[in-house]
């Protein structure tokens, strides 16, 4: 499998790169959509325990048809399985895990991320949109580390990493790190900071597609 192309990382390539940064034994909530790919790229020798906010810790992959249960689903309402050691619980307990800071990591998609860590990922604010938020605002407010996994630009080529979000916020100053198809970028007190470029990608190529300056000399902890 090739995860690097001339255009940077594929979606699976982003997931594989991100998964490398998750320590063994982490309790992780994967957002709906592109973040779900992380579960397919767990590094050899590591186990992550997946939390789904509708009430399951120890979520497993999609079921075989014979094991499919319409009342064993994930937050995207897709049917899933449970791993050995799984636990079911109600919504208050589930969000105590989130809001009480017990989860290690939340991986979310994004419409926009600002240089100060603001995240917009639930609404474009369009007049005819049906507003729907789910657990995203709770996740960003409560989970210790929030990774964003996203394409670097929109389908129209507009930067998703911006100076200030123009879409309605999900949370203020909440994003820890961004994994895009072009680069890994930290959110620091000095703004965006380059961690790593995707294979074959030049820094200038990334900066041109980013709506705020990216610093390259940030001392990483």
């Amino acid at each position: 499998m090739t995860s690097a192309t001339a255009n940077g990382w594929t979606r699976d390539g982003i997931a594989k790169r991100l998964a490398q940064d998750i320590p063994n034994g982490s309790y992780v909530n994967l957002g709906i959509g592109i973040p779900e790919l992380v579960a397919s790229h767990v590094p050899e020798g590591r186990t992550f325990i997946y939390h789904t906010e509708n009430g399951l810790l120890g979520m497993g992959p999609s079921p075989a048809a014979s094991e499919s249960d319409p009342e064993l689903i994930n937050a995207g309402k897709r049917r899933v399985t449970m791993m050995p050691g799984a636990a079911f619980f109600d919504q208050a307990t589930s969000f105590a895990m989130i809001r009480g800071g017990h989860l290690d990591l939340s991986v979310l998609g994004a419409l926009q991320v600002a240089a100060n860590g603001d995240l917009a990922n639930w609404s474009t604010g369009a007049d005819d949109a049906i507003p729907a938020v789910g657990g995203a605002m709770d996740l960003v407010a409560g989970v210790k580390r929030v990774f964003v996994m996203t394409t670097h630009v929109t389908k129209e080529g507009e930067p998703k990493l911006v100076q200030h979000c123009t879409y309605p916020l999900t949370g203020r100053g909440v994003v820890t790190r961004i994994y895009s198809d072009l680069a890994v970028i930290d959110v620091t007190e000095r703004g965006f900071a380059l961690v790593e470029l995707a294979p074959g990608i030049a820094f200038d190529f990334v900066q041109e597609r980013t709506g705020a300056p990216i610093i390259t000399n940030h001392a990483r902890k």
Binding site: G55, L72, I73, I130, P131, A132, V133, M137
Partner: protein, 236 residues
């Protein structure tokens, strides 16, 4: 002798009145008490405020209750699930009010309502449109918004097993909001696929203790939203 069983879903929902606030369990179809919702449609109460995480799919269950125009307001975290057309149409036509609440705040507001806690502070939604107009206060150098507990007149939920005292167990992720909703209503109505005598359930395993439950209806083979939708069903 305590026996909270009632003979039918129709009987269980008979006193739900116009303008009542009704909590309805379920996350998507998991835990949705379809037979109780259909009985409520038959019963005819209108002007309801519904508290539920979603707004149903297809033309059955919660979506059918909305389509019958019995609901004037929903308090909800995610009203636009795939396959959900009834709510978006009503909302765009201005026929239904939406109070959008983050999912964890919704769970906690219901929990608080049931636990006698009138309000609480949370950092969730600070800096977002959902915090606009809400009181806020700084604790530990972080801004929090004030959120109010929710109580209801009725709660409708689905268990997998219940006993005659109203103790309830749930099936997998069908549990979701039901345990909190059971505590937060004046009258809590449970439909359960299996109903047993008090003493038959392991007290260590009870999820919702019977003190929170008023009525138990035996619905042996509950319908599932996805199966009804695949069959092209609509209710009534």
């Amino acid at each position: 002798m305590i026996d909270k069983r009632v003979g039918s879903a129709r009987e269980a929902v008979a006193d739900i009145f116009d303008g009542a606030t009704v909590m309805i369990g379920g996350f998507g179809e998991a835990g949705s008490p379809i037979e109780l919702i259909h009985a409520l449609i038959d019963q005819g109460a209108k002007g309801l405020t519904v508290v539920s995480n979603n707004t149903g799919t297809g033309l059955v269950g919660l979506a059918a209750l909305l389509r019958a125009e019995r609901v004037s307001k929903v308090i909800c975290s995610f009203p636009k699930t795939a396959g959900s057309t009834v709510f978006p149409d009503l909302y765009r036509a201005g026929k239904i009010e939406l109070e959008l609440v983050p999912q964890g705040t919704l769970a906690e507001r219901i929990r608080a309502g049931g636990a006698g806690i009138v309000a609480f502070y949370t950092p969730t939604a600070v800096g977002t449109p959902l915090a606009e107009g809400k009181e806020s206060r700084v604790f530990n150098n972080r801004e929090h918004v004030l959120e109010y507990g929710i109580r209801a007149d009725f709660t409708l939920i689905k268990g997998c097993k219940a006993d005659t005292h109203g103790n309830v167990l749930y099936h997998r992720t069908a549990r979701n909001f039901a345990p909190m909703m059971a505590t937060a209503a004046t009258v809590t109505i449970v439909q359960a696929a299996e109903v047993v005598e008090a003493g038959a359930l392991d007290p260590e395993a009870i999820v919702t203790p019977g003190i929170f439950v008023d009525r138990v209806v035996h619905v042996p083979s509950p319908a599932l939203e996805s199966a009804l939708n695949e069959a092209g069903a609509s209710y009534p």
